[in-house]
Subunit: 214 residues, 2 copies
DNA sequence: TCGCGTAACCTACTTCCGGTAAGTTACCGA
DNA sequence: TCGGTAACTTACCGGAAGTAGGTTACGCGA
């Protein structure tokens, strides 16, 4: 009556690499569902069909697990955005394609990335550093594009503009999680329009075009 | 040898309002120093010269305490930015003064606000909501300005631009914590320049001015 | 096909911290 | 001076991160 099923259907042994990938998949899901704080290592372990010490064997700590998740996505994000920008020629096109790829990546990882943008926090300096490192990676990409197409811009401005673009992109990505009817293309268009001309088309003429004076 | 001092110098009774203010001051400090996660309620209690249950008496939970801190700053931020913008007339001036006030506010609360921007997360939905509420407050302010000076802009764009400005501001504020040599005025100027004309002054002509086509 | 080394895995614990129940002290007004 | 109440405390609970040490099963050579 009791154990007609030996109760060991899903629990099979796996190689290190295989188990590691599974753990990362599960962790990304659970972190995305519950948020970092509310996620317990026991739950991740259980969903993996494995006991808690295995997670510590593989990732050292709860932070370590999150950092590993971030690290995996980081590589993917760079790959996706770089490939998207590769085909373009004009600055507008580069920015536009890059932004579309960025927003589409966020769609694919919406749950877990929304968490990262919303709550990078909780955790250790290491986690923050991992997220910042992802930002730096994207910043480098953007700064390169800016330097290439706007060689006349002062260095300080390039750096500031890079930060502006990063911050704006992340905020727009979060906004889209609350406004799912806004497509990745629309969001990217808002972004490129704003970057291209800023608010000048809508403002009363006060100084016309040309590099900002003073 | 042991207790020549009766060891009760700071520990005095206080009225509810007085104690509450002190707790918020201490909590803002400690959260700013250690980050949310790494801060223990015991430490805040000790620094207040009071026992832990008092904190729970006053704020209900660790989250509640953080939310109260955020709430207090929220009012101050709105006040400061609104007052700064009051004297201006042109859109550029409004934006510029608002941004300077914002960055100066961040300087004054640098530790704790850097934490909020860096790690809004850790905590509950309530905490996130408190931070988002602060953003909404500032968004309303910005959207109002946009609507007033750019009535021709489509509604969808206004909303998106508001998000862009919020995200960009926060990111620039964080950037300044790593680049202390950048003054609030400089950062504000980068922001206003970018908003006014975007990248167009630096880009090769591809379509001139006018509202973004397509 | 038998054994044996090792990599995958588990049970059972400690510690730390958020949160709470129930009791104690000191101020204030009558 | 004395009682009521607001401010405050000690001493605890439960849950989750992290760990020590032992166990199982798979691969592989003889």
């Amino acid at each position: 009556m009791s154990d007609a099923t030996p109760r060991r259907p899903a629990r099979r042994r796996m190689s290190r690499a295989e188990r590691e990938r599974q753990m990362l998949d599960v962790a990304e899901d659970v972190f995305g569902e519950r948020g970092y704080q509310a996620t317990s290592m026991d739950e991740i372990a259980e969903r993996c069909g494995v006991s808690k010490p295995m997670l510590y064997e593989y990732f050292g700590s709860k932070d370590g697990l999150l950092v590993a998740c971030v690290g995996r996505s980081k590589a993917e994000l760079l790959d996706v955005t770089q490939k998207a920008m590769a085909g373009a020629t004009t600055p507008e096109d580069i920015l536009s394609r890059g932004m579309v790829a960025y927003f589409e990546f966020m769609d694919a990882h919406s749950k877990s990335f929304a968490m990262l943008l919303r709550e990078p926090m909780a955790a250790s300096a290491e986690t923050i550093e991992a997220v910042e490192s992802t930002r730096r990676q994207q910043s480098t990409l953007i700064a390169g594009v800016l330097a290439m197409f706007a060689p006349s811009a002062p260095a300080g401005a390039v750096e500031a503009y890079t930060e502006i673009i990063i911050g704006a992109s992340e905020r727009l990505a979060q906004w889209r999680t609350r406004r799912p009817e806004v497509s990745a293309q629309e969001a990217a268009r808002h972004m490129t329009d704003f970057c291209r001309h800023g608010l000048s088309p809508y403002l009363p003429d006060a100084g016309e075009a040309g590099p900002a004076p003073r």
